[in-house]
Symmetry: C2
Subunit: 189 residues, 2 copies
DNA sequence: GTCTATAGAGTGATAGAC
DNA sequence: GTCTATCACTCTATAGAC
C-alpha cells in the first residue's frame, strides 16, 4: 500500500495554524481541507471525532512541544537559571517574537474553553508550576517563586495579546526582557 | 413620542455579552436575537451593517466606558497615583475580578482582528499612553513610565487569560496586587 | 402618509457530520 | 459527495405615533 499520508506531526502543525488564525469557530472544515490538501473524507479518517477531535489533537500536539522544549529544560537543567533562559528563548522562538499567537490562550478566552477546559488548564498550570519549581531551586522562597512564575506566564500571554493588537513585535521583545529582569536573569547570561 | 425602543446602552451591553461568550464567529444572529429578544428585522433596523456593525458598536461602547471610567481618571486626577488607583479599581470591577473576559483582547487574538484592527489598537494604545502619562506626572522618567505602563496593561490582559483558563479569580486579584506594587501604589492607599 | 420599530418567511451559501 | 442544519442577510408586511 502506497502511503501518501502526510506525517501526522506535519498534519497537526498545519491544522494548528488554521485554528490559530481563525479560532475554533472560524476554522471551517473547508479551510482545514484547503490548508492540508485533504478532503473531508480523509479528515474524518484521521479524526473520526470531527472538528472537536482535531482541536484536541492540536492542543495535545502543542502541549507536547512545550513539554519537550519549555517545561523539560525548566525541570531538568542542573542550573535552574539556565533552564529559565532556555525556556524564554524557546518561548520567543515558538511565538516568533510575538508574530504568532498562543492558540491555547485564544481558546481559553472564548466559548471553546468549556470544551477544552482541562487541557487548557493543564498547559498553563504546568508552565507556572515548573517555572516556580525552577525559581525555588534557584533560591526563591516557594510562595515568592509561585508569584513570580504566575506573573511571568501572564506577562507572556498579555504581551502576545498586545503585540497582536499593535501588530508590533517590539511589545513582545520588551516583555521578555522585563521577564528576564524580574526572574533574575542578567542580560547576556 | 412614546418609545418602547430599548435603551441603546442596554442593547449594546447584551450584545457585548454574546460576543464575549461566543467570540465574533460564534456569536450567531440567532443567539443575539435570543439574548436581546429582538427579531432579525429589529436587529437590522438598529444595525444596517449587520453583524460587523454590531461588533463595531459594541467595541465603541466598551471603549466609551473605559474612556469615562479608566482613561479619564488617569488623565484628569490631580494626584496621578490616585488616578492610577481609580483605574485599577475600575478595571477590577469591569472584569469582575477576572470572571469576565476582555472582549477586545479576545478579538485581537483571532481573525476578527483584521476587521477591527484600528479600533482594537486605539483602545490598548490609549490605555498604555494615559497610564504612562500619569506615571510620568508621578515622577517617573518618560521611558520608564512607558515600560511600566505597557507591563501593567499586558499583565492585566495576561491575568485575564490565565484566570479564565484556571477558572480562578485569585489569579486576577494577585495580578492587580502586583500591578499596584510595580506602579508604586502602597496597599491601602 | 410618514416614520420608527417590529416580526419573520425566505434567500443562497456554507457549515459540520458522515 | 451527500446530507441536513444553520449561517448572515433580504424583504415584505405590520403595528402605532406623528
Amino acid at each position: 500500500m502506497r502511503r501518501i499520508a502526510p506525517d501526522r506531526d506535519q498534519l497537526l502543525g498545519i491544522v494548528a495554524e488554521v485554528f490559530r488564525e481563525h479560532g475554533y469557530e472560524g476554522a471551517s472544515l473547508a479551510l482545514i481541507g484547503e490548508a492540508t490538501g485533504l478532503g473531508k473524507g480523509s479528515l474524518y479518517h484521521f479524526f473520526p471525532g470531527g472538528k472537536e477531535e482535531m482541536a484536541r489533537a492540536v492542543i495535545a500536539h502543542i502541549d507536547a512541544w512545550f513539554e519537550d522544549n519549555v517545561f523539560a529544560p525548566l525541570r531538568d537543567s542542573t542550573d535552574p537559571m539556565a533552564g529559565i533562559e532556555t525556556m524564554l528563548a524557546a518561548t520567543d522562538s515558538y511565538f516568533r517574537s510575538g508574530r504568532r499567537v498562543c492558540l491555547i490562550g485564544a481558546f481559553a478566552l472564548d466559548e471553546s474553553r468549556d470544551l477544552f477546559a482541562s487541557q487548557i488548564w493543564n498547559y498553563f498550570g504546568r508552565w507556572v508550576t515548573h517555572l516556580a519549581d525552577a525559581l525555588a531551586r534557584g533560591g526563591h522562597a516557594p510562595a515568592e517563586a509561585l508569584e513570580l512564575a504566575e506573573e511571568a506566564v501572564a506577562a507572556i500571554q498579555g504581551a502576545l495579546t498586545l503585540a497582536r493588537a499593535a501588530d508590533d513585535t517590539g511589545v513582545f521583545s520588551r516583555a521578555l526582557r522585563r521577564a528576564r529582569m524580574r526572574l533574575g536573569i542578567a542580560p547576556g547570561d
